[in-house]
Amino acid sequence: MTDRRDQSFQQLDPVGGFSARPVTLLLAVVVVAYVVATTLIDLSTIRDLPLALFAVVAIGMCSLGLVIWSSPLRAPFPSAGFAVIVLLALAAMILIAYAGWHEAILVPDWWGPVAVGLILVALAPYRPPREILAVTLLGVLTVAVLVFVASSVRVKDAPPLAILVETALPLVAMGLASAAYASSLGRTVDSLRSSAEEATRAATDSLRGDIARSVQQDRVSILDESVVPFLTELLRTREVTEETRDRAAEIAAAIRAVMVADVDRTWLDTVIDHGARMIVHPSPLGSEVLADDHRLAPAMSTQQRTVVRAYLVALLAHPGFDPDGFSVTLTRAGDRAALVLRAKLDLDESVQRSSLAAYYAVLRIVFPDLTVSFSPPHLTLRFSYAL
């Protein structure tokens, strides 16, 4: 299992990561607004306008990247996306510093460190704390170099240490705090998992007796029908005849058939059946909705099963769900299984904003190749998993 410290909050708690997105979107807007406003206010101090424009555009692209890559349908936030955003933000910080070189360099209104800091805050739920810390360090080093170069160009009436602290502080503060935020959530997820595991185990263990009785009842019902009368009669007569032998073979074959059918049922059959029972209108789901000829559903891990189970329950219970046209197909593709789910969903809003969106965030974490397409009312989900 991957070290918790190498995982982002989004990976550790996909629903939590998803719920952080509105704040991410807000910060994406705030950082652009702040940069544009500060540039306009300090326009008179800017020597090289095109360079300043490039810097503002770079921050705009960072924001766009944040919006796109933090989408639940693209979870988990890609490393490449993180690298692009970080490089663009650092480049913007350097460009805007150079654009105002002759005048307002290295005063608190230099928006570079603030913008990078805000972007790190926005990225905190999506990348591991170590990466946030590493970028913070890189940013501080960049600021230190700029302060050093600037102090050789232009002497400011302040001690160099004070200038360095003033300029680097927004970046240091927001970078460290973002890493601490991500780390604190990660630790909580860990402790919560162990207690949740304990609670789940206790809850299910208490059901053990009931389940055992229910399974036994099923078996006894089968036995009561034919086996018990047959064996009781055999014990009474103590006589084996040709008819007895035929009857014994017949009963054995019937029981074996029931057992084989039981063994052939997968957890996915059970979930879909259970979901179907919840739908009271307009028409029930048929057994043909699930095509799993190679019995691939059982190959999913416990976590994958849990997420698919939760999604199916939510989907089938969705007020806009139409049982007609619902199907789940599993096929084998080399050493992987591919699942395609088709459903008709009467949704007024986009899939990304729907009540199902949180599930996509979680599904994406456990099935990284998940694709969701929705062309109303047809919803199609595709993903694969290792066998």
Binding site: P22, A173, L235, E242, A249, W267
Partner: protein
Amino acid sequence: MAPEQSFSLSIHAMNRAFRRFAHLIAAVCLAGSFLIVLAYQLSDPGLVLWPAAVPHVITIILLLVLDRRPSRVAAAAYLGVGAAGLYLSSVILMQRLPAVSSTDAYVLDLVVVALTLVAGSGQQARRTVLWTLGGYLGGTAATLLAALHSGVRQELDRGTLLVVVGVVAVVLTAAITRPRRAHAAPQLDRAAIDERVSELRYRIEFKAAALMHDTVLNHLAAVAHSDTGELSPRLRRAIERDLEVLIGEEWLADPSPEVDARARADWRNSSLYAAVGEARSRSLTIDLSGDLAAVGRLDRERDAAVGLAVAQCLVNVEKHAGVDRVELVVVGSAEEVSVMVIDSGRGFVVEGVAADRLGLRQSVRGRIEAVGGDVHVWSTPGRGTSVVIRVPAGSGLPGEADGGGHD
């Protein structure tokens, strides 16, 4: 099974993380202000500026207390003492440092920001917003009073105001959008429990299937292949036992763990007990049930064989099943002892096991058959595996054993 059940964090945990976030920024701001004062002090030792840095140290200590033990009193103490300290620092710097010529001085703004980020002690967004506004107003009032006292220019700082707006916006956005999260998280946790119940049911069904196979199905097959005439006494006894066990008892439920001291001693001295202990020490969870004391009825040779065979089965579960929990059931009668090792892991096609895979073939089957017992393996890909090991009770060479009642 890996502990991957929970998909949600409590609101309490989210608030704690936010507090940690805000307090760390506050600490860096206070430390920054401290360093700036220190830098000016070092650059001009003639100016006595260091007393302006002392209140920051006290404020940082109070911040630490607030972070570790959040309460209204701690938050109020942080704001009150912090604002008073800021007033003192501001007066000293405004009067002695030419760079601080107004209330809008970075070294002072940092402290105002630190007070703004008090984050409060409550769980509700409304309270956090009120504490934030309280911190900002307290800090701003302290610098304004110091400006009045020192006769310097009074200006409103744009940066600190933006921090206030930013914090309030973030807190409100998080609070407004929280219901979306609240919808999915319980469903996922419910699914985790359902999944576990489903796994448990599969395991019990598996156990039932193995029992049915080893009892009723086997004996029906024996009847079907019997010669015409009287039912053999051995088959009759076996059928009687089937009916007793399958109809008369709760054969799938865990029996009472009550055992007498002798039985407990028998169990603890067995090789099976040692095998279970060893596997448990490797983090495998083993649910024991059945008549554990029955292993005391095995002679030394069979006891050792059962222990080693089960040890191999447990190793197989660890290596191949992909689960960390296994069920071990001991069923004893006067004539034989059966041990079932049941897991709900990956399973496999029994016929598809390669000839060179000696674990099951040699270490389990070969070993048990050598002491007059037999081994049945039930496995289905994705549904788990059940290995039933049966050996005759009592002593005697394999050839002299009564065959275990298995047809």
